[in-house]
């Protein structure tokens, strides 16, 4: 668990400044059925001030990655190995960058609690279940402001109204007095975004923020997020399985499969030059609107193996059309740089092998 010296090196994304670097992250859930290896050595970088999409089928570890970085993994889950480095820019100290190893902090300790909510925030999929039904919208936003910004109630309410106005909510001074059930789905998601942005975080994790919404509302929320991202220059980690949303929103894409990152690339490379067979199969399996396409869809055969089992070799090889016998089913490929801002974990593109790092 020693701090690696390379954590201060340049980003894999050319010309970008890294805000969060995750190295060999293993998060396991110790359940009655056995150990569920949700994250199995995740390596990824989040660029500062950009939008990064995280895609993959359900159960590939997208949400657990975000929760691990936020240090919100609850029992029976545990981060068993790896480093999460947060490069905090301090505006008071001339933008000096401070390196914080989040895995070394106590998940519910004072340092982590001062970071969570203030520096890092999260938006969840279902706004109805993530807002507290027994407090007004205003109370919930004010709570975060008072906790992190050392202001009184009157000032906090003024700021809450201002934030709600900023997310395009009509009548913000009325909305602060409303309860979540009194708002529509789109308005609730706007309230949730206000809450997450109340302390102008440096990193925002958006976990399927528009999946529960209609296309028209989704388009409104996406516009809003893009606007806000430019205005307060934050990094957004956009977790979704909707590739249309990824194409419209993101600058970079991280593709995950079975608790690992299999490809990281720019948005254009992801769609026009995908290197990992999993990425290209995902793209082929969805119907493309406006393609006049009437041919059959090409689903990825098989299903994601359950996280309790161990797959020998590359985790994707049982479903991969290009799997090479004697190689892919034996050895695990390592994450290698294959081009400008493009890394992939596949033997088709490199011979680099990874030591299997299962922890019991």
């Amino acid at each position: 668990m020693n701090q690696s010296s390379e954590s201060t090196t340049k980003s894999v994304f050319e010309g970008e400044d890294t805000i969060i670097k995750v190295r060999d992250l293993h998060t396991y859930f110790y359940t009655d059925l056995g150990i569920s290896r949700a994250l199995n050595g995740v390596n990824l970088e989040i660029p500062r001030g950009k939008v990064m999409g995280v895609v993959g089928e359900s159960g590939c570890g997208k949400s657990v990655t975000a929760l691990s970085i936020m240090r919100m993994v609850a029992k029976p889950g545990k981060i068993v190995q790896g480093d999460i480095t947060f490069f905090r820019k301090d505006k008071k100290k001339n933008d000096a960058i401070e390196e914080i190893n989040l895995t070394k902090l106590e998940g519910m300790g004072p340092e982590m609690r001062s970071i969570r909510g203030a520096q890092m925030s999260m938006i969840f999929q279902e706004p109805m279940t993530s807002l507290n039904p027994s407090y007004t919208i205003g109370d919930q936003i004010m709570e975060a402001i008072i906790l992190h910004q050392n202001v009184d109630k009157v000032e906090a309410e003024r700021r809450a109204v201002e934030i709600l106005d900023g997310v395009g909510m009509a009548n913000p001074s009325l909305i602060v007095k409303r309860y979540p059930h009194e708002l529509s789905g789109g308005m609730r998601q706007r309230a949730m975004i206000s809450l997450a942005l109340s302390c102008t975080p440096a990193v925002l994790f958006a976990d399927e923020p528009t999946t529960a919404l209609d296309v028209t509302t989704e388009a409104q929320i996406l516009d809003l997020m893009r606007d806000l991202q430019k205005r307060i220059d934050m990094s957004i980690v956009f977790i979704t399985h909707n590739l249309g949303v990824v194409a419209q929103m993101c600058d970079y894409v991280t593709v995950m499969y079975l608790g690992r990152v299999v490809e990281q690339a720019t948005i254009d490379d992801t769609f026009y030059n995908p290197m990992h067979p999993y990425t290209s199969s995902l793209l082929r399996s969805i119907p493309h609107v406006g393609s006049h396409q009437k041919d059959r869809l090409k689903p990825i055969r098989g299903v994601v193996p359950d996280p309790y089992s161990k797959v020998k070799g590359c985790p994707f090889h049982p479903r991969c059309d290009k799997a090479m016998r004697g190689l892919c089913d034996v050895k695990v490929p390592g994450l290698t740089v294959v081009g400008k801002s493009h890394t992939v974990r596949c033997f088709l593109h490199s011979d680099v092998e990874e030591e299997s790092t299962y922890v019991q």
């Binding site: 909707n242 194409a247 419209q248 993101c250 399996s285 689903p299």
Partner: protein, 345 residues
């Protein structure tokens, strides 16, 4: 709309819905007095041809699901006609039929539900679930029943050996296959697919969509495909109906509806779809506001408060659904005049 339908041979149709209405009372107080009406479906006209897939799209709360369920009489309509071309007894009006008479027609109409987790009884084995429609209609017993269930499971791509298991042992995609097997048990003509893939993972969606297409070919099925995902609907549908606050605003072939829409709402809906191509990022049309409440809809055309082309007449008169091009229907005062953008613009 029926007058304009003269050009279509009635024998080619399987279903014709005229002015269908389904209103739900809003009840308040101790004695549950009715204080208003939610007009979930308020005058829907449509027709479905034999062997085709009709997509039914719209925002949540627009009445898509209610329309689907009312057509097969899972809900009793408030008003209107539902003509169904029964393969044995010919045209019947489902809206006027008594419950016991419906039993004769029901086998020809089935439904696949959205959520494969709540639509299968967790205490029944797969065999019970799939054989129940056969038992109720007294179509098979004993080993014959077992064989039929095995055959149905094979049809949907599942191994018959699994029939003694319970739903919890299966993944979402497999459960949806079980739901499809149950719907197929009585050799139906019409299947209402109510968001059948929206609860499934992307890669599994493709498997289930392909299965539905294969079954349609092999078994000569007709689908009404209710969904909000416009890319899925484009892929699977021959024709598409767009709903807004309980009414149809446009009905046309998929090609015409997606590439040359005639109703401003369809245009805005198409513009909102996030296109899976990072090189096409501009979105020229924005749709402000939210869907009107079906309990308290606006005057005139329900879409006028959000419509960028709205004029005075739009807030006063309700535009009827009229044929603006052959088999292309739109409910807009300016349907023929406006130059609207399709999904690619």
């Amino acid at each position: 709309m029926s007058n304009e339908l003269a050009s279509i041979n009635r024998d080619e149709l399987l279903l014709e819905v005229k002015d269908l209405k389904k209103h739900f009372p809003i009840r308040k107080g101790v004695i549950r007095r009715s204080t208003g009406l939610v007009k979930a479906v308020d005058g829907v006209n449509l027709y479905v041809k034999k062997g085709e897939t009709l997509g039914l799209v719209g925002e949540s709360g627009c009445g898509k699901t209610t329309t689907g369920r009312t057509i097969i009489r899972l809900l009793d309509p408030t008003d209107g006609e539902i003509h169904f071309n029964d393969p044995k007894i010919g045209w019947v009006d489902l809206a006027k039929m008594e419950r016991k008479d419906l039993m004769q027609v029901r086998p020809h109409m089935q439904i696949i539900f959205q959520d494969p987790f709540s639509s299968l009884d967790p205490r029944m084995t797969v065999q019970r679930i799939v054989s129940e429609p056969l038992m109720i209609n007294k179509l098979a017993t004993g080993s014959e029943l077992q064989d039929r269930v095995a055959e149905l499971l094979r049809t949907v791509g599942m191994r018959p050996e699994y029939m003694s298991r319970y739903p919890h042992a299966f993944s979402g995609g497999q459960r949806q296959r079980i739901g499809i097997a149950r719907a197929l048990a009585l050799n139906p003509k019409l299947i209402i697919c109510d968001e059948p893939v929206s609860a499934l993972d992307v890669s599994i969606q493709a498997q289930v969509l392909n299965l539905l297409e294969d079954l349609q070919q092999d078994l000569d099925l007709t689908y009404i495909f209710v969904a909000h995902d416009l890319s899925v609907v484009e892929h699977i549908s021959d024709r598409v109906a767009v709903m807004y606050v309980g009414r149809l605003v446009e009905l046309a072939s998929t090609e015409n509806l997606y590439y040359s829409p005639k109703h401003p709402y369809t245009e805005a809906l198409m513009a909102a779809v996030p296109k899976p191509d990072p090189r096409k990022r501009d979105r020229p049309i924005k749709l402000p506001g939210e869907v009107a409440s079906p309990a308290n809809p606006p005057s005139g055309c329900y879409f006028h408060p959000r419509c960028r082309y709205a004029k005075d007449i739009c807030s006063k008169e309700t535009p009827p659904l009229k044929e603006v091009a052959p088999e292309h229907f739109a409910a807009c005062h300016f349907a023929g005049e406006l130059k609207l953008r399709g999904v690619l613009a």
